[in-house]
């Protein structure tokens, strides 16, 4: 099932399908390791609900919901 990263709930896992958006934001997302095929776990949201904290490629990254909306994910089936 496909879903935007911004719609994930804490603890949900998935694999990146593709990245939309443009210019510097998109490039930054790539550079930080969020590329097609990368595994992502949504850790939590900040106290005010935004930004989000994710684990990608073994480290913690934070990005806003608006930026996470550029990332289309394939939701992992829970074992």
């Amino acid at each position: 099932m496909e879903k935007k990263l911004s719609e994930f709930t804490p603890g949900e896992r998935g694999v990146v399908r593709r990245i939309e958006g443009e210019g510097r934001v998109r490039r930054r997302i790539f550079d930080m390791g969020v590329t097609a095929g990368a595994q992502i776990v949504l850790r939590k949201a900040a106290p005010l609900g935004d930004p989000l904290e994710i684990t990608v490629r073994g480290y913690e990254l934070t990005l806003r919901k608006s930026e996470a909306a550029c990332v289309t994910m394939e939701v992992a089936k829970d074992a």
Binding site: R28, D31, M32, P47, G58, E60, L61, L63
Partner: protein, 750 residues
């Protein structure tokens, strides 16, 4: 001399390695972006000395942030003999992403796998040989912190620097291999250095490259049309995917992971509490308050405030009494910062008495005694006595920086900040401003958005720096001494908060008027928490101490001497009393300017000292205090029953009595100093960090904000009902801005 460049991700231990290599003492922190400028040192660990250049930490060589361009331009144009690419072994995948880009340059590369000791502790292993085989360059395991493997690294770098290396690309197996080959050959034919690197960047559609090589770009466009692939010409995505794809393929071979336990690490546990949904923000406020409470509180445990417990000790020995008063007084038990301040004040008083008797025993002339005692020593000791307290505040701030909490603060506050038009990332340089505005302003280079950078630079001085803290401490202490029921500590904290609120407010106003635009993106690494390293804390403190001492004995001495001279001589070069002095005439001439802020004409004959102090503060904010210290004895000489005051706040109390300034006006004076043009050094740094030719607007911004705000503060504190008039004015202003913005954004409204 051979020249080696250090390149690597932010927070990968690059600065620690730089310090280990060169024996220098650059500042290390635990959040991405501590090093934002390049820095040079000499490494003497190998057989021959080599120059080492520490580049800013970068994730990529893309052209979007200033520090990435600094690193990129250095590597391309300055042609180092070798690049040491430091990679955090605990986070290898993302670190190697930069490596794959560095390898495309025609320069020898040595990869330093850092934190391999941490990796081992986790039960993981790094195989340097496998990695080296995959990357085609030497790989050395090191621990920059424990200085392990440094010699091997220096040796490897020295050896590599003797050789030549042609760039290699992990894209050789990608669908773009042919295109990149073609462009590389074309560029090489033209004699362009680093042809492979430029070719790849062209394929990515990198702006500076497209501008520099329009002809080759046509080849790329033609290729895009001809070639159908899954990426529909989106080569930026294709290349990033190919790089990470290559890394995952070889990474799994290089680091063998032991079974990851599902248990939470200590860092995760700490994070759960510190960024908690409900408690995250209150905890941040408590930490901030604790920071200032521990530094400035006279009544650490509120024993006096709640139980009216004081500690008056009378032993009959005055020296012993004043020593005991260092730790507790009638106000209660002092906080560590205040104890340090009192101790230093105690030492300074003893030293001052020693100097005074020494000078008089030497039989110096009156004017020379005055110059030494009231000019130089009064000014310098005024500044010196605050140094331990300010260093203590620095220590606490460094602990926060070093622990990794700063990045979380940005994470917690981003949402709130965005409402006002800044990203949470901009909050890190602002918090640094509590220490010193200069490094804080330099740090704004990590902000990608130009408008955000300008606004952050403008409001950094509103975060009260270490040099302004003594003004707050002295003024609030003096007010509390004069008016019962005012708690100096809470007043200081309130002023700190006021500065922060002004920063947020002015940014919000700028966003609506001169700096319209979208909030910059917020995509940031959150480093693991770790215990602060004692050594790096001490190094940081030592740096600050040197900086302060140097400043006290250069700028402050010079200013104190000038102030002393001007306040003791008349226009015909005769020594005179202060009311006939040059300074009096100058001060009285401009005094009226400060009338709206409460410390102008209404203060009468000595009121000008506040104007003079504020003006000298433009050079260095320590001058405000040293000016008080130099002028207080001269004014005191004219007042019967003068008490010099025992504690460090004495001169301010004395000036309050001499001028009859109200506490409201003193607060306004402090606010003016907090918000006005910072010291020369900070102003020059901000000038360098903001676009050329626009600095005069920043100067105007500081002048206007400080003058208007101090006026408003004075009015509201003195006559509370004026708050309604000010609110009305603010509402009118807001309505005007809103209407104007609507008229502009509406397509029909011409």
């Amino acid at each position: 001399m051979l020249r080696i460049a250090l390149a690597g991700n932010p927070n990968s231990g690059k600065t620690t390695l730089f310090n280990a290599l060169t024996g220098s003492t650059a500042h290390v922190g635990n959040w991405p972006g501590v090093t934002v400028d390049k820095r040079e040192g000499v490494c003497k660990k190998g057989s021959v000395p080599m120059a080492v250049v520490d580049l800013p930490g970068i994730y990529s060589l893309s052209p979007y942030t200033p520090e990435e361009m600094i690193a990129r331009n250095f590597l391309l144009e300055e042609k180092p003999d070798c690049v040491i690419n430091i990679a955090d072994a605990t986070n290898l995948e993302r670190n190697l992403y930069l490596t794959t880009q560095l390898l495309e340059m025609d320069v020898p590369v040595v990869v330093a796998l850092n934190m391999t000791d941490v990796l081992q502790k986790r039960g993981d292993k790094a195989d340097a040989e496998k990695l080296s085989a995959a990357l085609g360059v030497p790989v050395v395991c090191i621990s920059a912190l424990k200085e392990e493997g440094i010699r091997d690294l220096v040796q490897a770098a020295y050896k590599a620097a003797q050789t030549k290396r042609a760039g290699t690309s992990v894209l050789a197996q990608s669908p773009l291999a042919h295109l990149i080959d073609d462009i590389t050959i074309a560029l090489r034919g033209k004699g362009v250095a680093h042809p492979l690197f430029h070719a790849v960047k062209l394929a990515e559609g990198d702006e500076p490259e497209v501008k520099a090589h329009p002809q080759e770009m046509q080849t790329v466009e033609a290729f895009k049309k001809k070639c159908a692939d899954g990426f529909e010409g989106d080569y930026e995505a294709l290349i990033a995917d190919a790089r990470y794809g290559y890394i995952t393929q070889h990474f799994s071979a290089a680091v063998s992971r032991s079974e990851r336990s599902e248990k939470l690490s200590a860092s995760d546990k700490a994070d759960r509490i510190l960024t908690h949904r409900v408690w995250g923000i209150p905890i941040f406020l408590v930490i901030l308050f604790a920071l200032f409470h521990l530094t400035f509180a006279e009544d650490l445990f509120y024993l006096n405030a709640i139980f009216k417990i004081g500690f008056d000790v009378e032993t009959g020995n005055s020296v012993l009494d004043s020593f005991v008063a260092v730790f507790f007084s009638s106000a209660g038990v002092a906080a560590p910062g205040v104890i340090l301040f009192n101790l230093m004040g105690f030492v300074c008083t003893l030293a001052g008495n020693g100097i005074a008797s020494g000078v008089s025993a030497a039989g110096a002339a009156d004017w020379a005694q005055g110059l030494v005692n009231d000019g130089i020593w009064a000014g310098v000791s005024g500044v010196l006595s605050f140094i331990p307290q300010i260093l203590f505040l620095f220590l606490l701030l460094s602990i926060l920086e070093d622990s990794g909490y700063m990045a979380r603060v940005a994470f917690i506050l981003d949402r709130a900040f965005r409402k006002f038009g800044l990203s949470g990332r901009a909050f890190i340089p602002m918090i640094m401003g509590f220490g010193c505005s200069v490094p804080a302003a330099i740090n704004t280079r990590t902000l990608a958005d130009e408008k955000e950078r300008i606004m952050t630079n403008r409001v950094i001085p509103f975060f009260t720096c270490g040099a302004k803290a003594p003004i707050l401490a002295a003024v609030c202490g003096a007010i509390a001494a004069q008016y019962a029921g005012i708690n100096a500590d809470l007043l200081v904290f309130a002023l700190y908060l006021f500065g922060m609120a002004m920063a947020v407010l002015t940014v919000a106003i700028m966003r609506q008027t001169t700096m319209k635009g979208e909030v910059a993106p917020f995509i940031m690494e959150l480093p693991s928490y770790h215990l602060p390293q004692l050594r790096s804390l001490m190094v940081h403190l030592w740096d600050k101490l040197k900086h302060y001492i140097k400043k006290a004995f250069t700028v402050i001495v010079a200013s104190s001497v000038v102030i002393w001279f001007l306040s003791n001589f008349s226009w015909n070069w005769q020594m005179t009393e202060i009311q006939n002095s040059i300074l009096h005439d100058i001060g009285a001439f401009v005094q009226w300017l400060c009338t709206p802020m409460g410390f102008g004409s209404q203060l009468g004959k000595f009121g000008w000292v506040f104007v003079v102090a504020a003006v000298t503060g433009l050079i260095a904010k320590e001058n405000v205090i040293s000016t008080f210290y130099v002028l207080a004895p001269a004014i005191g000489a004219l007042i019967p029953g003068w008490d010099d005051g025992e504690s460090g706040i004495g001169p301010v109390v004395a000036l309050m009595q001499a001028t009859g300034i109200t506490w409201q006006a003193l607060i306004a004076f402090t606010v003016f100093n907090m918000l006005t043009i910072p010291c020369f050094a900070a102003a020059a740094t901000v000038r360098g960090e903001t676009p050329k030719g626009k600095f005069r607007y920043t100067l105007a911004f500081w002048m206007l904000t400080s003058y208007l705000t101090a006026t408003a503060v004075y009015l509201v504190l003195t006559w509370w009902w004026t708050v309604f008039i000010l609110l009305l004015l603010a509402a009118l202003f807001a309505a005007y801005v809103a209407l104007r913005n609507r008229a502009k954004s509406c397509p029909c409204g011409r």
